[in-house]
Symmetry: C2
Subunit: 144 residues, 2 copies
Amino acid sequence: MATRTDPLTLEVVELIGTVVARYYEEYEQAAAAHSLTGAQARVLGLLSLEPMPMRRIAQKLKCEPSNVTGIIDRLEVRGLVERRPDPADRRVKLAAPTEKGTRTARQLRESLDFAREPLAGLSDADRAVLRDLLRRMLGMEPSA
Amino acid sequence: MATRTDPLTLEVVELIGTVVARYYEEYEQAAAAHSLTGAQARVLGLLSLEPMPMRRIAQKLKCEPSNVTGIIDRLEVRGLVERRPDPADRRVKLAAPTEKGTRTARQLRESLDFAREPLAGLSDADRAVLRDLLRRMLGMEPSA
DNA sequence: TATTGTTATACTCTATAACTATA
DNA sequence: TATAGTTATAGAGTATAACAATA
């Protein structure tokens, strides 16, 4: 597939880079507001959707399982997450948010206004067009 | 400003999150293909546009100046970057890519096909619409 | 005095390899 | 034997504080 290098494409590439930088920046700030690192916030967000084995957290984070031990350790010390036994397999430990962790995850999610706040400047029709373009960029079917 | 939580907005937010995740992933892979970390690749990319004082690199990276010392050290050991005196101020050290560093930066840029390759699925008209929507999201004027 | 870059320190995230307890 | 989680280790990025050279 030929790579496009026309001015329009390059400008869109740069704009996407700007969006990515701003998104990351705001994510880190939101995490820091709760004294969490980015990785800790991501894990807490994951677990708030569904408790899961350490192994699966590593898959979601695309990192080695040994790293997850430390991240969960630090969340556990702060009372945001707990390790539970898996009744079906005694080797497995299920990481699950505590009540406090669930609360923190929700606050975190609500403070992540990056993509919502700027979107307020777009009309419903604009948002629908943007959605379709992003879907096609990501190789998704038009009607998901 | 009221935060929108309608399904369409939330879907766009999620799509942007997916774009961000994929962008970062591919950036790290491209850097790793040259045995560089993400931070090292970002600094090399910066310097390939224009040599600059250590202090300014820190500002661009939004990190403390003390961190830049180590990053430049590691790039310098590999012969990708060099420190030059600033004739105008003897306190300042200008970091500049070597010839090898310039070559690596160019290869890195060319391998960053993330945003280009998927864009190939969009027509020129689509790309123009996407550009305008992203500009408005980022608070830019329509005709930059 | 203020600024630039550095050093020293400590913490977090990361990968690798070896270990344990279960399966 | 194979798998889940852990530990130990080393490298990199990060912030903080203190320092030397220069402005």
